[in-house]
């Protein structure tokens, strides 16, 4: 029994964290809002290139297809770091979902380009047709991986109608249901892609939550009212302690779900559902708390908090919100007939 990353996995995570801390500060997140005054997508793309040079983009692609063949345990930490930085690009969708998915579909040429960092892939597998990062992507994957007999389509080049998100960096696009070409995937590959997306989303939410909590803790330590730092007030302390509690008990569930996925365990779907439910709730709680303890300064677009908070408000509902995930857990516990799930 050993509930921890090994040293290689920890080192890779550390390297990604260092890279993003240096190369993806809030100014770059703002540069990732297409159409905004500060938009500078070329600058954002340079971060992508550096992730590609590290091998991160092809990390989940099997070695036989030119990737690193790393499992979910090795990758959830990287995705948490992408969340912490609020990276305004679909690292999770490209590296964690599209890489293995395109490899399973036999799209060898595309996989090679993806692993080389030449392909940004946006993906939405929930049947909504609303694809995040469509506006900055080179290819899109859309469709319904949850429906019985569902299918996924590849759109290259991307074809979509732009949509405005509360989080401009999400660069949404609406995709027509019949656009693109159907990918050659069996039911197991579809299910696996969904689980990876849900788990990857959970990992990103953890990182977003950690960044928001750190920002809030720093702020209440500096900000003075009534002659003292507001972080001395118990009303503030207790909210932040509860926010940390939620994150600290969601994080191990994410790592355990990654291990279950890598093992192909029978409970993997349930474990992913537990992870996403906890991570969604924790991130929403932290975002609300961080906004509240800041007061009015955080209710602006000039202050950086909104860059992370908006990603949480969007991300918590994507890939199955907490209620939906808990319904999956109910089914696994025999509290619901499986066929009632959709």
């Amino acid at each position: 029994m050993r509930f921890a990353l090994n040293s290689d996995q920890a080192a890779l995570r550390e390297a990604v964290r260092d890279l993003l801390r240096a190369e993806c500060p809030p100014a770059v997140v703002r540069a990732g809002w297409p159409g905004s005054e500060e938009s500078d997508l070329a600058r954002v793309r340079r971060v992508w290139d550096q992730l590609g040079e590290m091998g991160v983009l092809g990390a989940a692609v099997p070695e036989a297809d030119g990737g690193l063949g790393l499992g979910a345990v090795a990758l959830v930490g990287l995705l948490e770091e992408a969340g912490r930085a609020a990276l305004p690009l679909p690292l999770m969708e490209t590296a964690f979902v599209a890489g293995p998915l395109l490899a399973a579909a036999g799209e060898a040429a595309l996989v090679e380009r993806l692993a080389a960092g030449e392909l940004v892939v946006g993906a939405a597998l929930d049947g909504s047709g609303i694809v995040p990062f469509a506006q900055v992507a080179d290819a899109l994957i859309a469709g319904d991986a949850r429906a019985p007999g569902g299918e996924l389509r590849l759109l290259r080049p991307p074809a979509f109608a732009p949509l405005e998100s509360i989080d401009g960096a999400r660069g949404l696009g609406r995709v027509a249901a019949d656009a693109g070409l159907v990918l050659d995937l069996d039911a197991a590959a579809l299910a696996a892609a969904w689980e990876r997306g849900a788990l990857g989303a959970a990992a990103q939410l953890l990182g977003l939550g950690r960044a928001l909590l750190a920002l809030a803790a720093d702020y209440v330590t500096e900000r003075r009212q009534f002659g003292v730092a507001i972080g001395t007030f118990q009303a503030v302390k207790h909210q932040l302690a509860d926010a940390l509690l939620a994150l600290e008990f969601a994080a191990p569930a994410v790592l355990r779900a990654a291990w279950s996925l890598d093992r192909g365990a029978g409970d993997a779907g349930r474990d992913v559902a537990v992870a996403k439910a906890l991570a969604s709730d924790a991130a929403l709680q932290v975002a609300a708390t961080a906004l509240q303890v800041h007061g009015a300064i955080a209710y602006t677009v000039e202050y950086d908090l909104h860059l992370h908070a908006k990603r949480v408000w969007a991300g918590a509902r994507a890939w199955g919100d907490a209620d939906w995930q808990r319904t999956r857990v109910a089914a696994a516990l025999g509290l619901l007939p499986e066929e009632a799930l959709r």
């Binding site: 050993r2 509930f3 302390k237 008990f249 191990p252 109910a330």
Partner: protein, 378 residues
């Protein structure tokens, strides 16, 4: 990352499971009543005779030299088997780790075997009428008795769980009369039959005589009743409270087993058709599972040599809130039957104490905010 146990650990689990299934008594009276306490003592002695009382201790003290992982496995199996609460817990889970850390060889050899065998039964003497959450306000005093070669203890301790049935108490006394707050305190271990000690039991919320107040009037204890050095009691006590808040007192096995029973109750009570009730059951089950995963991560860190420290307050906040929610959900499923005396209503009353004892949850939040998040004290 490897969430499997070794064959040796699985063999340990199988041995524990087989023994527990064959030996666990059911339907004991409450361990917080005189009658029930006696029944529980029989169980404790059966555990000891089969060397299951203190699995993680050295063999010479009655244990099995079990690793912390094996201890965790034993706890899982213990609660899975529906075995009784441990009336010895304040000794074996709270005092013993402190004796292992701070006790002299003589103290260890004298105290631990008797504790393991449930011959000496230990209760805590922390709170006083004027010192609850504010433990450093302790007023009970220890005065040096040079002629007798020991100390004279005077003061009042209260909320002493099972004090009316125990034989010994450990707690803090002010040994430096000029001292304030957390300085000048000494950690003493006191036989409750010493002249000058009076114990008065009284009813807890559940009506059992589970509480006691302990009055000390110039009670003599010898020098070897001091644990960890004169005037150094605060740091010794903090080691004990770390055990109380953290893993050793409340391992995940207890909550996993309660969550499984809750799911069964929900199936029996038609929660399949009630989306709101179902969601509450699932939330409780998920939280019990999350506590298990958190614990596995924490034990990995402990096994690698790092101390839990202030993070034990995270454990305490989480398990105490989880325990209340689990039982509240069960009572709601039971509806009109919720008020009837039974395992869920008793468990509910027990769970309500969790956010209060071992340092109230308000104190734990302060600790998390200041010592984990680094927020300013003043």
């Amino acid at each position: 990352m490897d969430l499997t146990y070794t064959p040796a650990e699985e063999a340990f689990r199988a041995e524990a499971r087989a023994w527990l299934e064959a030996n666990v008594p059911h339907d004991l009276a409450s361990g917080d009543s005189a009658e029930g306490f006696a029944q529980h003592l029989e169980w404790e002695r059966a555990l000891h005779a089969a060397r299951w009382a203190v699995v993680s201790w050295p063999e010479r003290y009655g244990g099995r030299d079990a690793s912390i992982w094996e201890w965790l496995i034993f706890e899982e199996e213990y609660y899975r088997a529906g075995a009784p609460m441990r009336v010895t817990q304040n000794g074996i889970f709270l005092l013993a780790p402190t004796i292992f850390e701070f006790g002299t060889q003589e103290q260890q050899d004298a105290l631990l075997p008797r504790m393991a065998a449930a011959e000496d039964l230990w209760c805590q003497g922390w709170s006083e009428p004027g010192a609850g959450s504010d433990l450093a306000a302790t007023k009970a005093r220890a005065v040096r008795d040079e002629a007798g070669g020991g100390w004279r203890l005077t003061g009042q301790k209260t909320w002493t769980t099972r004090g009316a049935f125990c034989t010994h108490m450990f707690g803090l006394f002010r040994s430096d009369p000029g001292s304030e707050r957390h300085r000048g305190l000494t950690y003493f271990m006191v036989p409750l039959d010493a002249p000058g000690v009076t114990v008065r039991g009284f009813g807890r919320l559940d009506g059992d005589e589970g509480f006691a107040e302990v009055f000390l009037d110039d009670a003599f204890v010898p020098d070897d009743a001091v644990l960890g050095g004169v005037d150094r009691g605060w740091s010794v006590a903090m080691a004990t409270t770390g055990s109380e808040r953290g893993l050793t007192l409340r391992s995940p096995g207890r909550f996993l087993s309660a969550a499984e029973r809750l799911v069964e109750l929900a199936r029996d009570r038609g929660a399949r058709e009630d989306a709101l009730a179902r969601d509450r059951v699932v939330r409780a089950w998920i939280d019990a599972d999350a506590y298990q995963q958190f614990t596995l991560q924490q034990v990995t860190e402990i096994a690698a040599g790092s101390a839990t420290g202030a993070r034990s307050s995270l454990n305490k906040l989480f398990w105490s809130q989880l325990d209340v929610r689990l039982h509240e959900t069960a009572l709601d499923l039971l509806g009109p039957e919720a008020e009837l005396d039974g395992p869920w209503s008793r468990g509910f009353l027990f769970a309500l104490a969790g956010p209060i004892y071992a340092g109230t949850n308000e104190i734990q939040r302060n600790i998390v905010a200041e010592r984990v998040l680094g927020l300013p004290r003043k």
